[in-house]
């Protein structure tokens, strides 16, 4: 119940698709999605494997609430060893693909090996088959999805695919589903491309059952009411999207600007949610066309945007003059503030290209920021860039680089390396604003102290979604803490990390936790699933997952030394705003964190801790 209790194992080398039962003992310990798939991955691959070798595996996983009536119950994840990081990768997406996989009767798909030629996986309820994808290889995500729907005469087919970025080995290529939802981070699309797997197309008509439908409808209805009545999930996110944060974070002095040289961006309001709502002169419309929801989501933070038809990016290109996935806060920051670009339509266009070609706008934008700094220093010149001027705030350079990166052409191929390899190549590794090779998202750790610890300890490299202490430090959820103080942040980060581990394993969206506590979540899982799903057990599952991910990384060769931040955040003080004069106090927080985690001073989980968590 709620779990389909079936796994599809696809051996790409042999071209086989086999059904096997879900390990229900593991499901009781890891719940589903992120946790359960991580367990499978850890059991099945050598952590030291090259992420792009056939020995790496790629798991597409849903949670027990995916496809149910629970609000936001459309989440799914990709778990693999990340191409960008070499660490455990778990990239989470929404849209409709995950629910469809559940409707077809599958909890997970485990891809292993490498196909000798490009293929896509077609799943129609119980029937799964690998199909020749030579006609789709070299095509964009958008062409692939439309093509597969037409080829199979089924507008309801749900597709997750890679674009050219995943084919040509852009290190931060993602997997895009439903045209503009993405498992975007850590290079999970690069791994998919390395396996010659172009797409997964799913149609499910079997549905998802829950253990106790009446109790479940009651629990989910009550929880939906909580979302509706909450100021963030009921008003802020539906009206403004995640972009509601742009001006807020800028005012906090925590909006990383020009590769983290600054912490405030003068152009922030030009690329904010408010700007997306403004009516433009050319066609009397706004950038924001409407808000769109993922499957089952009663929040609806998704942005659907239309670029000004007179804008340079689209005026001669009708194919981009339609509505599509608009700017979320992280993308707007990475494509905008990180490079000093304040042209809203240029950012929207670059975001379209990220979706169309399947790559992560955060890592892309941040890498462009690093390259612009190298250009400013004269380390990179127009000889390297093929004539492109990588000046701060240059919108045309940004959009050109987006297109080149997507295709792996020209200087775009260098951007496709990610900031770590790019800055190493040019001899300035300190200028990569990343942890474990993955670029920071949109919160400067000098202005929001807890996020520094979140980034440094994140198992998949720098990430806001592994412990979003911004909720507490800026928004006051569940209670307000001082963003400029590192006191008590170790405990706060751990609480967020463990709770997030459980949420990411359930099939629901972490945004619900702006309104929901675990007390709202546990009854929904308990009504849907067999077993004891108390708040305590869920937090234990979250902690178990965190430690398992940590163990994978340790076995892969990472150590406590990798739990750090770039020098810039630790040494160069913020120049303006509330955080002026501050650096991130990681050195103070990290030992406390290790101790609270039950890890050694070197950051290794002790045997006691592993034993307590049955690892």
């Amino acid at each position: 119940m709620s779990w389909a209790k079936r796994i599809l194992r696809v051996n790409l080398t042999k071209g086989t698709c086999q059904e096997e039962p879900l390990n229900m003992d593991w499901a009781q310990k890891y719940l589903g999605q992120r946790g359960l798939a991580t367990k499978y991955l850890c059991e099945e691959i050598d952590p030291r494997v090259d992420p792009l070798s056939p020995d790496n595996k790629l798991i597409i996983a849903t949670g027990p609430l995916t496809g149910t009536a629970a609000s936001t119950g459309g989440r799914w994840s990709v778990i693999t060893k990340g191409a960008l990081t070499g660490a455990i990768a778990c990239s989470n997406s929404g849209g409709f693909f995950g629910a469809e996989l559940k409707f077809a009767g599958w909890d997970m798909i485990i891809f292993e090996g490498k196909s000798p030629k490009p293929v896509y996986l077609l799943v129609q309820d119980d029937v799964a088959q690998l199909v020749d994808a030579s006609g789709y290889w070299g095509r964009t995500v958008w062409e692939t999805e439309k093509g597969l729907k037409a080829e199979h005469q089924d507008p309801q087919l749900r597709v997750a695919s890679i674009g050219q970025a995943g084919e040509v080995g852009v290190k931060f290529a993602g997997i895009v589903n439903d045209l503009h939802r993405a498992a975007g981070r850590s290079g999970v699309g690069t791994v998919m491309g390395s396996k010659n797997l172009k797409a997964v197309a799913v149609r499910g008509t079997k549905g998802v059952q829950v253990r106790d439908p009446i109790a479940f409808m009651k629990a989910t209805s009550e929880a939906k009411a909580v979302l509706a009545e909450n100021a963030v999930t009921g008003e802020g996110l539906p009206a403004m999207g995640t972009q509601v944060l742009m001006n807020v974070i800028n005012e906090c002095g925590a909006l990383p600007t020009r590769n983290h040289k600054d912490v405030q961006f003068a152009g922030a309001s030009d690329i904010s949610a408010e700007a997306m709502h403004e009516t433009r002169r050319s066609d009397g419309k706004a950038n924001l066309t409407r808000n769109g929801a993922c499957f089952g989501c009663t929040i609806g933070c998704g942005r659907i945007s239309t670029i000004d038809p007179t804008h340079y990016t689209v005026k001669d290109r009708k194919q981009y003059q339609m509505a599509s996935g608009g700017l979320e806060y992280e993308a707007a920051w990475a494509l905008g503030a990180a490079n000093g670009v304040n042209d809203l339509d240029a950012l929207t266009f670059a975001n379209f290209i990220c979706n169309e070609q399947g790559f992560d706008p955060i890592s892309f934008g941040a890498t462009v920021g690093a390259a612009m700094e190298l250009y400013e220093m004269g380390v990179i010149t127009t000889k390297d860039t093929g004539g492109l001027e990588l000046t701060w705030g240059n919108a045309e350079t940004l959009t050109t680089l987006a297109e080149l990166t997507g295709r792996g052409e020209g200087f775009g191929a260098e951007i496709g390396l990610g900031s770590k390899l790019l800055t190493e190549k040019y001899g300035h590794p300190d200028l990569s604003m990343s942890v474990k090779g993955q670029e920071f998202p949109a919160y400067d750790a000098r202005g929001i102290q807890g996020m520094g610890l979140t980034y440094a300890t994140s198992n998949r490299g720098a990430c806001h979604l592994r412990g979003y202490t911004v909720a507490s430090e800026v928004l006051g959820i569940p209670e307000k803490t001082d963003p400029l103080s590192s006191d008590g942040k170790a405990g706060l980060v751990i609480a967020f990390q463990d709770a997030t581990g459980a949420v990411d394993s359930a099939g629901i969206c972490v945004f619900t936790t702006f309104a929901w506590s675990m007390d709202n979540i546990a009854p929904q899982i308990a009504a849907a699933c067999e077993g004891d799903w108390s708040v305590e057990k869920l937090l234990e599952v979250g902690e178990r997952i965190w430690n398992l991910e940590r163990k994978f990384n340790m076995d892969a060769g990472f150590t406590g030394k990798d739990d750090t931040l770039p020098k810039r955040l630790l040494k160069d003080a913020a120049k303006t705003g509330p955080a002026e004069g501050k650096v991130n106090e990681l050195g103070k927080m990290l030992p406390e964190y290790y101790a609270l985690r039950g890890w050694t001073p070197d950051g290794v989980p002790t045997n006691d801790t592993l034993g307590r968590l049955v690892l």
Binding site: K149, A150, E151, H152
Partner: protein
């Protein structure tokens, strides 16, 4: 006002109900030719599989339905109509006066000129009586030869297979359901039924049926002799109009009617399979399908009761489930050059859309059932497709999207 309705199929029954509403004080007599309450031939295949019993085929289910509505349901068959005297004479000699007469006598199956079709063990599949005879003979393991793989042949094919008989289908045309499917669709259907163990002979004629030692032998022009315990004949139907000889009612293929469903003789109307009614695409045709019969019955009755109801024409359409593969056809799918086609042989899916200018005029659909009604909507509303024509040509599966976009904008 006294209304007489000849024929108690869907057209007749709907006409009776409509008359009752439109003229509460009028006298309504419904004359049916069979030994059962008004029933639906559409339901006979489900009777044969045992999915329903005979009462499951009845057009109206409530007890004493016709009595309670004040409709006199009468058994009988018309022998003659005399417009001068405004009377109908039934086969049993009884005479009925009318002020307004509706001819809704439907059609009867054609018996081709093949020797031996009068033998015991040879049946049409048309009436409840036929169904009872077929059910008795089509036992598990018995040999059955089905003559004709048209709509009716196909609709009973599954019932026969489900009963566990050894089935051979002999069709003179080069494909199945040639009236409602083109060659591509017919071929797909053929492969589908063959894959399920049906022996299908197309472009093959039955030359004679004979009785040898208590069972039948079916001789064909190309496939030799086929042993049979039962032969089912379904090679087409013709409108029941013989009794109108001498009445002055003009008859072409069916009874000629105008757009108010009145025949060439005042006070006599025709509806359903017997009527050659206005066609949505222009002209007048016999469209022997359930929705048309019902519309005919209603429009004819309104006019009989004194309203001025104009019929804008029937759209020929059909849906058929052949052993799980569903096919549907709408309107003018043949003869148009401007078409969109999507074919997936492996998945048994086929779509063909036929356009005329900015409009959809016809469609074929195999292997899809969801939302197919919009094909009727798209054709019959004559909605301008605009940009959606191009989208449909690229991806014909977007029919529901096109309908919603064009009509709900």
């Amino acid at each position: 006002m006294k209304y007489v309705i000849l024929g108690a199929g869907p057209a007749g029954v709907v006409a009776a109900e409509t008359l009752r509403k439109a003229d509460p004080s009028g006298q309504v007599i419904l004359v049916g030719g069979e030994d059962a309450p008004p029933y639906s031939r559409m339901a006979i295949p489900y009777l044969l599989t045992g999915k329903i019993t005979e009462d499951g085929t009845y057009l109206r289910k409530a007890d004493e339905y016709y009595d309670r509505l004040g409709i006199l349901y009468k058994r009988g068959r018309a022998a003659q109509v005399d417009p001068q005297k405004s009377t109908v004479v039934l086969e049993d000699g009884q005479s009925l006066d009318y002020d307004k007469l509706l001819v809704a006598t439907g059609a009867t199956p054609v018996t081709p000129p093949v020797p031996g079709l009068d033998l015991k063990g040879v049946h049409h599949c048309w009436t409840l009586e036929d169904a009872r005879a077929i059910a008795a003979l089509a036992q598990a393991g018995s040999n059955v030869v089905l003559m004709g793989a048209g709509f009716i042949g196909c609709i009973i094919l599954e019932s026969l297979v489900e009963r566990g008989v050894n089935l051979t289908v002999v069709e003179a045309e080069d494909r199945m359901i040639s009236r409602m499917m083109d060659e591509t669709g017919g071929d797909m259907l053929k492969r589908w039924v063959e894959a399920q163990g049906v022996y299908l002979l197309t472009s093959t004629k039955v030359t004679s049926v004979s009785e040898i030692g208590g069972s039948l032998s079916v001789s064909t022009d190309k496939a030799g002799h086929l042993p049979a315990d039962l032969v089912v004949v379904s090679v087409g139907v013709k409108p029941n109009t013989d009794f109108l000889k001498g009445s002055g009612v003009a008859i072409d293929v069916g009874i000629e009617v105008d757009d108010r469903l009145q025949t060439s003789v005042p006070n006599i109307y025709a509806a359903g399979d017997v009527a050659q009614g206005p066609d949505f695409g222009g002209g007048f045709h016999v469209h022997a399908v359930q929705p048309t019969s019902v519309e005919h019955g209603r429009i004819a009755a309104l006019n009989m009761a004194g309203a001025d109801a104009k019929y804008r024409g029937s759209l020929i359409m059909n849906v058929l489930d052949t052993m799980g593969l569903v096919s549907a056809s709408f309107g003018h799918w043949m003869g148009e050059d401007d078409v969109a086609v999507m074919l997936d042989q492996d998945d048994h899916r086929y779509t063909k859309l036929a356009f005329h200018g900015d409009h959809l005029v016809g469609a074929l659909m195999l292997g899809r059932t969801d939302q197919i009604g919009v094909l009727r909507g798209l054709i019959q509303t004559r909605v301008r497709l605009g940009a959606w024509k191009d989208k449909l040509k690229k991806d014909p599966s977007l029919i529901a999207q096109a309908y919603v976009a064009c009509t709900q904008g």
